[in-house]
């Protein structure tokens, strides 16, 4: 540390008004030094952190749109998928929407939706096909449901129920065996969590169905078109 060579000024001399500050020279020095150092670290690491955050979601997109097996297969075969993130405001809420394009064709959409669960917020990724008619996948990004009970919403078997459910129907969690078109059989003992997931899906899709369908129906790249509008 270079600072060790400096001396403490002010002691024994006349006391000026900023005496306190002089006393605190070490604090000031350290503060600015640390501040600068941290800013440096921030600049170095920030992109990586951002990428991490995004990856967490993006990695799931193919699976949600194509289904796990197809996603793996296409990954193995080296196919590419271009994913664009957009923000869409619908109703009172703004959603992060990921548009997946494969071979310059809209392959589907993934909506990041969140809502109140049993214990805390549940964050979901809902995949829909390009025409926004059926659900293609569901993933739970974040939840704090009761372990062993509510957190079974994370289990693939349960989530699979949502696949290929029509988007125009409201999904309901039922305690009995699900046989209706819009019915999801609830996790035993965790009906509230199950309901919450259904509600989040319902609400987000209800809000976004129209705009997404509209965007999808534009054969041109929707993002550019939107920007033009702005």
């Amino acid at each position: 540390m270079t600072t060790t060579t400096q001396e403490t000024p002010g002691s024994g001399k006349n006391r000026w008004t900023n005496f306190f500050i002089v006393q605190a020279w070490l604090v000031l020095l350290l503060a600015s030094f640390f501040g600068a150092a941290l800013a440096g670290i921030q600049l170095t690491l920030a992109p990586k952190i951002e990428a991490n955050k995004l990856n967490e979601t993006l990695e799931k997109v193919p699976e949600l749109i194509l289904g796990a097996d197809a996603a793996r297969a296409s990954k193995d075969s080296g196919q590419q998928m271009e994913i664009n993130r957009q923000y869409m405001t619908a109703g009172t809420k703004t959603y992060s929407v990921f548009k997946a394009e494969k071979d310059n064709q809209t392959a589907g959409w993934v909506v990041k939706a969140s809502g109140q669960g049993y214990a805390d917020k549940i964050e979901l990724l809902v995949g829909v096909d390009e025409t926004v008619n059926t659900i293609t996948g569901l993933f739970v990004l974040d939840q704090k449901e009761t372990p062993g009970l509510g957190n079974k919403i994370m289990e693939p078997d349960w989530r699979r129920q949502f696949v290929s459910k029509p988007t125009h129907l409201l999904l309901t969690a039922v305690k009995t065996k699900a046989d209706g078109p819009g019915e999801i059989s609830a996790i035993t003992g965790a009906t509230i969590s199950s309901k919450a997931v259904c509600d989040i899906v319902n609400q987000s899709l209800n809000n976004l169905r129209q705009p997404l369908a509209k965007a999808a129906s534009d054969k041109k790249k929707p993002s550019e078109k939107q920007q033009e509008k702005n």
Partner: protein, 264 residues
């Protein structure tokens, strides 16, 4: 109305459901250290509530004004050196921890000195707790929660305003007070109990805290329930019928840049 309900839910959640001490384990040190007498516990709880509110105000202000990207103050100063667009991107959130802890300790110390000098009686009953609070995780935790709700949200519209932040902080403090006062009452009682020597002191306090924590788990879901009860119509807003064919104009707007991800 919705805003009020929001505030209320934040309050209930912070005070009871996700109690700082019993759910998030913050502020354990004073919870164990200063919970032997009810009077002390009340003083400590109120002092924490007071400081946590001040800290929340400071940290919210600092975060929104200086730290987050596009914060007005930073952007303004940055504007002298670069284009406004670039200046709006300056992200100082990495400084947040230092700024918060600095703000907390300085304000605590200032308040302590002030109270000690001008309200000696108040200091005796309440001010003595202040120095202990600087290292109380609960305060920093409140600041961090506020930060994550201000800068960590996907949607800038969801970012907390000052009111929500203060509510969280204040009721978090109240929750802390509730927990520590209950604990103090129990510990006064424990003095008369024939506890195995090895468990006396902190160990039995922790076990009691465990039982308390179990009891407070009963509140899980109360906020959801309250929300449903209060916003009973919000759930029904969703139209159960298929959407009519005549499509309303597109309401979506692209706000952010598109992030591209090459996935292979």
């Amino acid at each position: 109305m919705n805003y009020l309900i929001d505030i209320m839910l934040i309050a209930v959640s912070a005070a009871l459901i996700n109690n700082f001490v019993l759910y998030y384990f913050v502020g354990i040190c004073p919870f164990i250290g200063v919970s032997r007498q009810i009077d002390m516990a009340v003083g400590m709880g109120l002092a924490v509530t007071f400081v946590i509110s001040i800290a929340a105000f400071l940290s919210w202000t600092m975060t929104t004004m200086v730290l987050i990207p596009a914060a007005p103050l930073t952007a303004w100063i940055g504007g002298f050196f670069m284009s406004p667009e670039a200046a709006a991107k300056i992200d100082l959130t990495i400084l947040s921890y230092i700024v918060y802890i600095f703000a907390i300790s300085a304000s605590v110390q200032f308040v302590e000195m002030y109270v000690r000098r001008f309200f000696p009686a108040l200091y005796k009953s309440f001010g003595v707790f202040l120095p202990l609070i600087t290292t109380n995780c609960a305060i920093l935790f409140a600041c961090l929660t506020i930060m994550s709700n201000v800068s960590g949200v996907d949607n800038p519209a969801d970012a907390w305003d000052l009111g929500r932040s203060l509510t969280l902080a204040f009721f978090g403090g109240i929750g802390f007070t509730i927990a520590i006062v209950i604990m103090a009452g129990i510990r006064e009682e424990l003095d008369f109990c024939d506890i195995p020597p090895a468990l006396r002191g902190a160990a039995i306090t922790l076990i009691v805290a465990g039982i308390l924590s179990m009891a407070f788990m009963g509140f899980t879901g109360v906020d959801t329930g309250l929300k449903n009860a209060l916003k009973s119509d919000s759930a029904a807003q969703i139209d159960p019928k298929p959407i009519p064919k005549d499509e309303s104009p597109l309401t979506s707007v692209i706000i952010g840049e598109t992030d591209k991800k090459e996935w292979s």
